[in-house]
Amino acid sequence: MWRRTFLLAASLALAGLALARDAEVPDSARQVELRNMLLQDCGSCHGLTLKGGLGPALRPENLAGKPREFLFETIRLGRPGTAMPPWGPILKDAEIAWLVDQLVSGKALQEAQR
């Protein structure tokens, strides 16, 4: 138990570092791709309008109060034992951080409702 907490703390710290280090933002062409991916490919489990499906809803009100590092790590590592897959093998840290931004700020939702 202790070990797990420690690991979690360590990985959260690392995530914080990653978030800081990758302050660089994906360029605008990549943003278009990522936005499309967020709605279409994440959307196949979380709903095209982020209202949930096999995975939970990802609207700002659903994510309120959850630390950004926690969301970042959830996307990067997935949640073993659940259907949430790790996106670390496919996306750069900066891209994941950008996705978290889009979700938490409600920009992704706006896009989904367009």
Binding site: D41, S44, G52, L54, A83, P86
Partner: protein, 392 residues
């Protein structure tokens, strides 16, 4: 001048999309619909000349939408992700009725006699059954399990004897709902069938119901001729010793892809199609493919099986020869291949290519592209021949 105004009138008619309430006198056996998931619309298509006939709009969130047909093949029932159930008249290209029946739904089925339409829901988890004519609610079946929680429901199909069969994702159960008395469904429950069933199919004769498991290797098999024998595990441990890849999209089990006494199903988390011997239900082969399979569909003559793949490998389609069990062709329609639908006798197949906003038609003998039609983020393609197939 007269010609010009005629042209103008024609144009008006066309842009109004639905031929302004006029209904065409024609058969529907060569019709189908293409789901346009971003715009909440469907296109009605015909496969004799491979053209789009009309567009019907206002159908809500159509991500993961699916369709069943009335037995007269005139009406399409569209199940939307937002809990919407829409009934479309193909002849008049018109939305007949639309209801929002839950917060979040995943699919549906039409009963053997065509009188009932059932919808499986994520939230609140369960199945609702409607009158196919009026879309009035007939029965509500909450998928309740341990401590009154409700489970997401997947893999809903019709079965002979006016029954519906479905699986509970969270609970790991299979339920049979006998609808002979539609207002009072009789439920038979099978518990502990395996972790997280993700989708299911029924064999075309309506005898075997098979649920794929996400949470463990294998599939759960229920013989509907002998429900008293309970649910059996097949293909146990097919992934043993192999490193499972992350799953970016759940595979689908649709129809029963059978050829030469063998069935072909997607492996979860592997770049492989599994081959099952139907006499023993054992795995007898494993065909390496380009990505994680999503749909594995047999050409109606059974000679070939066409496969599409999960993100990030969703730009290609592979063709497997069912005799040699080898991949014989790889096509590249483009990013976001979401679905494939064979024409009734299989000489052509329609493929939706989401990111290119295109639907493509291929000749299945030469594997050549013969036609491309524009569509807005197309996903599922559903043709009217499904009306007479159990489980579709």
């Amino acid at each position: 001048m007269k010609r010009l105004s005629n042209l103008f009138a024609l144009l008006l008619l066309w842009t109004s999309g639905t031929f302004a309430g006029e209904c065409s006198l024609r058969g529907t056996g060569d019709l189908g619909v293409v789901i346009e998931r971003a715009s909440g619309s469907v296109q009605i298509i015909e496969t004799s000349g491979n053209t789009a006939i009309a567009r019907v709009t206002g159908l809500g969130d159509l991500s993961h939408a699916s369709v069943v047909y009335s037995r007269d093949e005139r009406y399409a029932y569209v199940f939307g992700r937002d809990g919407g159930l829409s009934k479309i008249d193909l002849l008049c290209a018109r939305l007949v009725k639309r209801i929002i029946q839950s917060g979040n739904s995943i699919g549906g089925a039409i009963s053997q006699d065509g009188s009932l339409v059932a919808v499986s829901n994520y939230t609140p988890g369960g199945v609702k059954v409607f009158d196919a004519d009026s879309l009035e609610l007939v029965a509500d079946i909450p998928a309740t399990w341990g401590n009154g929680r409700r489970s997401k429901v997947i893999g809903l199909v019709d079965a002979p004897g006016e029954r519906f069969v479905f699986s509970l994702w969270d609970a790991g159960e299979i339920w049979i709902a006998d609808m002979k008395d539609p207002k009072a469904p009789k439920i038979t429950r099978f518990r502990q069938i395996g972790r997280n069933p993700y989708d299911a199919l029924i064999t075309p004769d309506g005898r075997y119901y098979i649920a794929g498991l996400f949470g463990e290797d294998g599939m759960a098999l229920l013989d509907l001729w002998h429900p008293e024998r309970g649910v059996r595990r097949i293909l146990d441990h097919y992934g043993r010793g192999e490193k499972k890849l992350p799953v970016y999209k759940m595979p689908h089990l649709e129809g029963w892809t059978v050829a030469g006494g063998r069935a072909f199903v997607p492996a979860v988390g592997l770049h492989a199609v599994l081959v099952i011997d139907l006499a023993t239900w054992q795995e007898v082969g494993r065909i390496p493919v380009y990505g994680q399979p999503v749909f594995v569909e047999a050409r109606p003559d059974g000679r070939e099986v066409w496969v599409n793949f999960a993100f990030p490998n969703n730009e290609k389609v592979q063709v497997i020869d069912t005799e040699s069990l080898k991949v014989v062709d790889t096509l590249e329609p483009g990013k976001g291949v979401l679905h494939m639908e064979f024409e009734p006798r299989g000489e052509e197949v329609w493929i939706s290519v989401r990111d290119r906003d295109r639907v493509q038609v291929y000749d299945t003998a030469s594997h050549r592209l013969v036609r491309e039609l524009p569509a807005q983020k197309p996903s599922g393609i559903f043709m009217t021949w499904r009306a007479h197939e159990t489980g579709l």
